[in-house]
């Protein structure tokens, strides 16, 4: 189904990838921990390595929970597909897309 309108109805998405240039939005959820009410949303360069992304963005946020231990993160998934993090690969190389959701457990 499409929008019923009086005239042509075609408007660009307000948060499309091109507006973020070489960056993108990436969501990260700590599954099974409701302390953080929702997944976090980060703006990260596509060329950022996984190691940097985790150390500079995920760890400082997750450390808001005093029980967080950065070495105990596991069971990583992109959407619902499991992946093995490689600290040297970039987000783009790992297949992370604009507005994708990454999940982990501890």
């Amino acid at each position: 189904m499409t929008v019923k309108a009086l005239g042509p109805y075609n408007f660009p998405p307000a948060d499309r990838q091109e507006l973020f240039g070489d960056d993108m939005l990436v969501h990260v959820n700590w599954d099974g921990n409701l302390l953080f009410c929702a997944a976090a949303c980060f703006r990260a360069p596509k060329a950022m390595t996984w190691g940097d992304f985790k150390a500079q963005m995920v760890d400082p946020w997750a450390a808001g929970d005093p029980d967080y231990d950065p070495s105990r993160t596991k069971d990583w998934r992109l959407g619902d597909v499991p992946f093995e993090p490689d600290p040297n690969k970039t987000l783009a190389e790992m297949g992370v897309r604009h507005k994708a959701v990454i999940k982990f457990r501890d």
């Binding site: 189904m1 660009p12 998405p13 307000a14 948060d15 973020f20 969501h27 929702a38 949303c41």
Partner: protein, 499 residues
């Protein structure tokens, strides 16, 4: 001249002033009333709940206004705010002026548009009266609450906040969605869903909350609006029945709109759920009880069996809303609590007494899922901190609430739904919001999501102070109630020997 009956006056002064255009086709005069696919064969069949003429309308409303302004003036002069149950109650008033009053104004504008664009004289006149009601409601609310603004934080820039602040994008986007639809969908969204289906969940909690917590002023504007609201309810039902009776082909269109606007409206009421269970120092009833009474009994038990006659089913996704009554208020307040550094109200950890009430009101969920979170927040406070979430949250593309809702059947697991449209990903909090997006993706790709706008640099800057300044949130508006200016002032006003 003999005196005319009310009915004759109404007929002469409203419907009899209508005429059929002959120089141009009706569809040129009323270009907006056909493209949605709703077929109307006889506008004369419209039963007008506003059997009033403009002069009678003005006379009634002037009387009500006089009474209301007398009460609010006396409340202000007698420092009535000092008699509230507690200053933390005012957070409910803040949510109202920031989130609800601007909607009254938008409703005023859009009913004015309908008063021009509907073909039938009865429907146009009903819209005109409702447009006038809505501006009166906006004005009385602003006037009443302006008294609180003299003494409490968070109410000085509500118009700007409504346009900009993240949690206020929830009610704003609901209305924007309706305003940008056609006239019949707007009436389904606002007159039916907002003013009929969910009205008792949206407004009664605020007004009963006012009454239980010593807020005579807010209670009085509630009463002053009550007779208008019952007319609006009647109009909401009339709109639906009119469409259903005019043409069988309208039934599936109306069903789709009921499905959409039930879920949109229900998601909006979850903010009220958090207000009821957590903001009010003296509780009226729990969200769960309110949902059972005002929605399950009155609507699912009363309204929908009547609508079944027309071939209308209860809203799609209603079962999810029913399941969520056990926990949704806790999830939403937990969101508000951890983002209070970016909000124009104060939250705090519930007192032991409030916690006991929550346990009792939600026996199957509170102690299992939410009390442990509060225990952790308490432990963080005991260590000298306060739990604030320092990352921006993922937002739902449709309802725009941070994605803190859980999977059907599992309150322990956050719910994620995702659709791809023209090469971009979109995320949703629920099957209901995803279904709404998938029906009209071209519409919702335009959503102004506060988090994504902050990251594009459109909200004043990159730091929290930059964004708060752009929001119009000043020192004292945000943070925990324990350190709020409201609490400090309240304690001073009530200190022994204080003045």
């Amino acid at each position: 001249m003999t005196k005319l009956s009310m009915k004759e006056r109404y007929h002469l002064l409203t419907r009899d002033l209508d005429w059929t255009p002959t120089y141009v086709a009706p569809e040129e005069v009323y270009p907006h009333s056909r493209y949605e696919g709703i077929k109307i064969h006889d506008w004369g069949a419209w039963e007008d709940p506003f059997r009033l003429t403009v002069d009678a309308y003005c006379k009634y409303q002037a009387e009500k206004d006089k009474k209301l302004y007398a009460v609010i003036d006396s409340f202000a002069q007698g420092q009535g705010h000092l008699g509230l149950s507690d200053a933390s109650y005012v957070n409910a008033v803040k949510l109202f002026i920031q989130g609800v009053s601007p909607l009254e104004y938008q409703a005023h504008r859009h009913f004015g548009y309908l008063a021009r664009h509907l073909d039938g004289a009865g429907a146009r006149f009903a819209s005109l009266c409702q447009s006038l009601d809505e501006i009166r409601h906006a004005q009385t609310q602003i006037h009443t609450i302006s008294n609180y603004n003299k003494h409490y934080a968070g109410m000085h820039d509500w118009q700007k906040m409504h346009q900009r602040v993240w949690y206020l994008s929830v009610p704003k986007s609901y209305f924007d969605d309706a305003l940008s639809a056609g006239p019949f969908e707007f009436m389904t969204a606002i007159s039916f869903s907002f003013e009929y289906l969910l009205t008792n969940l949206l407004f009664v909690p605020f007004m009963s909350g006012a009454s239980f917590n010593g807020d005579l002023a807010t209670m009085t504007f509630g009463f002053s609006a009550q007779s208008d609201e019952s007319r609006h309810m009647t109009l909401g039902l009339e709109v639906i029945k009119f469409m259903l009776e005019q043409d069988e082909g309208n039934v599936p269109i109306v069903q789709d709109w009921i499905d959409k606007w039930f879920w949109r409206g229900y998601r909006l009421t979850t903010l009220v759920a958090a207000m009821m269970d957590y903001f009010l120092p003296k509780k009226v009833m729990s969200w769960k009880e309110a949902f059972e009474l005002y929605f399950e009994e009155q609507m699912l038990g009363g309204l929908f069996p009547d609508l079944a006659y027309y071939g209308i089913n209860p809203p799609r996704h209603v079962a999810q809303a029913q399941a969520e009554k056990e926990y949704v208020s806790h999830q939403v307040y937990w969101i508000l609590y951890q983002y209070t550094h970016a909000a124009a109200f104060n939250t705090t950890i519930p007192s032991d007494e409030a916690m006991a009430w929550l346990t009792e009101s939600y026996p199957t969920t509170f102690d299992r899922y939410y009390k442990p979170l509060w225990d952790k927040a308490k432990a963080i406070e005991a260590g000298g901190g306060r739990f604030y979430n320092m990352a921006l949250p993922q937002l739902c593309q449709v309802c725009q609430i941070p994605m803190g809702f859980t999977e059907p059947g599992d309150p322990g697991q956050i719910c994620f739904r995702q659709s791809e449209y023209e090469g971009e990903l979109y995320n949703f909090c629920s099957d209901g919001c995803q279904w709404i997006f998938d029906r009209e993706p071209e519409k919702y790709v335009q959503a102004w999501l506060p988090v994504h706008q902050i990251y594009q640099g459109n909200c004043g800057g990159a730091t929290i102070p930059d964004v708060l300044a752009w929001y119009g949130i000043a020192e004292g508006d945000n943070l925990d109630y324990a350190v709020s200016t409201d609490k400090t002032s309240w304690d001073e006003w009530h200190a022994k020997g204080g003045n």
